[in-house]
Amino acid sequence: MEKLSFLKRIFTGRSGRKIKEVITAYAFIAPATILIFIFGIFPVGFALYVSLHKWRIKKGDFIHLQNYVNAIGNLAYVVIFFLGILSLVGMYLLIRKIIKMARENEEKPWITILPGVLFAGTAVALLRWFYSALPEVLAIADKLRGLERSQELFMQLLGEALRAETVLPAWRTFIWLFLASLVVGGLVYWFWRNRRTMEYQAYFALIFLALGAGIGLIYYTFERVSAAYAAAFESGTDPGIWPQFISISAGVILLILAWVLWQRAPKGESKGGFFLHILAAAALLVGAWLLIGEIPTIVASGDEDLWEGLKVTVFFSVGTVPFQLAIGLFLAVLLFQKVPGSNIFRILYFIPYVTPGIASAAVFQQMFSNRQSAPVNQFLSFLGMEPQQWLFEPRGIVTLLGESLGVNVPAWAAGPSLALMVIIIHNIWTYVGYDTVIYLAGLGNISKEMTDSAEVDGANRWQVFRYIIFPLLSPTTYFLSLIAIIGTFKAFNTIWIFRSNLALGTTDTFSLTIFVEFFEKLRYGYASALAFILFGIIIFLSYINNKTQGSKVFYG
């Protein structure tokens, strides 16, 4: 009874209401957060784990970076090394930020280094526990085979798994570190009595994590390369990693240097600016030359399917995104002139986007059939051209064009296959309406005064569009191009429907390559490594897109 009233008092006071609100909030977010954790965050760690193993349906040996080396050759070592360098750069930026923050507030936050280290250690310990517990927990399913399943049995096996001799020490370290960091963090908070204590602690924890990751990755690279050399030495071959390593690193560093110099060089016709521009150009040339010189070696040592998939994806992106955006913008500008019935046009243009891609792909498949009587081939005959094989045609469009003109086109200039062209057309057809609708919204945000005053000043319609409307639309263009590029790298469903053996894999984009490795060849570990490479490419592209377009985006 007494206890109950005590509880009641906790929840009715002023701070009590706050506690109640916090508990309610956690209850509200719990289901979604747990699901997103299990199926959206945990899988990233799990995929990394799988990618470091030989894994064909069942888990095999731990093979370090072998899957990545199989995919992209020695480039894998270079990438890991640069990830380490990036961590260190991140650490440097964080330190600068923390110093600036301390100086601005005239504080000495150095005491929070202590809990920062402990929190970083806790995070590492948690990760270590996660990776030691994962195989034990996965093995429960095998232990249960043939037994009567019950909750008690599962809990018992789970307990055994978590108490295994590889798991328990990791768990203990984690708990001790966690308690220690809580105590130390609390003490620091108590003594220092500063609003920003938690912020400083978090920053220091991040700094130490970045430091650990940087040093760890760099050390790991060198250890792995030495191991590769040792293995090669036994079989009497030369893996040639170091020369490749050095020239790629030098190339990348020169490119970054060129970028930095170009940005720093004073604008205008000063002598120093001219000199810096020349220097930047030289760095760019040498860097690019070093990197281009390495490409054949990398391609030769990596997986052929992967490079082929990457090439197809690039064709797909380049063939889709610019056209889709241009047509969408053009239609949006026309529709924006308040023509009667513009709403109906908008509704109709949007239909391809909402149509299930699988069904519309099935329709396109028949329209672009290789039958002479299929609509597109009929149209070609109407224009007096030869009917084509379309989705069954692995030859490139430039090759086909050359053949009809009697020119022999070299293999490297073949271009996307005709089969891929059908997929590109279908993709443009699907997304033009979506781009139109979004561009229309963007046009609606441009103030009429601005275009009107330009017209009063004597600008013609093209000039108004070129110098006012188009620049003001740049955030929309940036957003749409990012979505579209990432979309082409992720595309799966329609390409899977369009896929035909006769196209000899010329329509298999990177996503398809991954799925085939996983679904048909059952190489789970290798497919996971490929998925991470795709992830890396998407991050890299978003970054480049942000750097090149983002700086020019005009957020009126």
Binding site: E21, V22, T24, F28, I29, A32, T33, I34, L35, I38, F39, P43, V44, F46, A47, I140, A141, R145, F154, L331, L334, V339, I347, L348, Y349, I351, V354, T355, P356, I358, A359, A362, V363, F364, Q365, Q366, M367, S369, S373, P375, Q378, W429, G433, V437, A441, P475, F479, F492, N493, W496, S511, F515, F518, Y524, S528, L530, A531, L534, F535, I539
Partner: protein, 288 residues
């Protein structure tokens, strides 16, 4: 006089311009819709006509639809797809509404951190998740009381936590004025009642969009259902259509009928919701 002349010229000019604009716009409509027209007209032909050069059927063979429906076993796939969609939607909407409300209107430690960690998963390509999630789902089915592979849990539960829905609803819930909450609190309503009785009725538009987008997403899903089903028991319509297209091969009048059957539900939903739909896409698209 002179003024009248220029106005006339302007009118003439604008008529010319309008003709040009309409021509282009109509070409756009033609290209957007011609695949649908061709699909419907082919689906009504007999096989000989479908493989020939005719664009319109000489007589309408509506029995193609019955034939395609029977051959492709669409009844089972339709029921499966509708069940999968319903279960996913109920779970996803409930969980997303609750979470979005808490993220938008409540104070709790770690709110921004948790939200930004979840948001960052939006940029990870699905292929990274597919393999580990397949292993997880298999594992869950082997240890738990219910089957996951070839059963509804694997097709619905992983999609119930949707950061996209939470993000979209959060944007909207945040715009509900605070005065409304203060008034509700005066009347003794807690968060849950405020959410159900005040916020939700105000958010019909974004809820409709999430509903339609999730519906399309579930209707369209291919890679994941292919992985986690190997019998028709729980296979959705997308996989059903794909196998029918392969199986029916050259009988394109039947495959076109099948494609139209698959598209129709989505088209109906789109036409009923198109106003909210295009507007919300435009709004959320720009913010996303």
């Amino acid at each position: 006089m002179a003024e009248n002349e220029t106005r006339k010229n302007a009118l003439k000019f604008s008529t010319q311009r309008n003709i040009f604009t309409y021509t282009i716009l109509l070409i756009g409509v033609f290209i957007s819709l011609v695949p649908f027209v061709w699909m419907i007209s082919t689906s009504l032909m007999n096989l000989g006509e479908a493989l020939g050069t005719a664009f319109f059927p000489s007589e309408f063979h509506f029995e193609n639809y019955a034939e395609a429906w029977r051959r492709a076993d669409f009844t089972e796939y339709f029921v499966n797809s509708i069940l999968i969609t319903l279960i996913t939607l109920v779970g996803q909407l409930t969980f997303s509404i609750l979470a979005a409300y808490a993220f938008a209107r409540m104070e709790f430690p770690g709110r921004d951190l948790i939200f930004s960690i979840m948001l960052s998963t939006m940029f990870i390509p699905a292929m990274v998740f597919t393999i580990p999630n397949f292993l997880t789902v298999t594992w869950l089915g082997r240890i738990g009381p219910i089957r996951w592979i070839n059963n509804w849990p694997s097709l619905t539960i992983p999609f119930m936590g949707s950061i996209f829905s939470i993000f979209m609803l959060k944007q909207f819930f945040g715009q509900v004025p605070d005065e409304l909450y203060d008034a509700a609190q005066m009347d003794g309503a807690g968060h849950l009642r405020f959410l159900v009785q005040v916020v939700l009725p105000l958010s019909k538009a974004p809820l409709m969009v999430i509903l339609v987008l999730s519906f399309i997403g579930t209707w369209n899903a291919l890679a994941w259902p292919m992985l986690v089903t190997n019998t028709p028991d729980w296979r959705p319509i997308s996989v059903g259509l794909m196998s029918f297209v392969t199986e029916a091969g050259q009988e394109i009048n039947l495959t076109m009928a099948g494609a139209f059957i698959t598209i129709l539900p989505i088209l109906i939903i789109y036409f009923f919701t198109q106003k909210q739909f295009t507007e919300s896409i435009a709004r959320s698209g720009l913010k996303g």
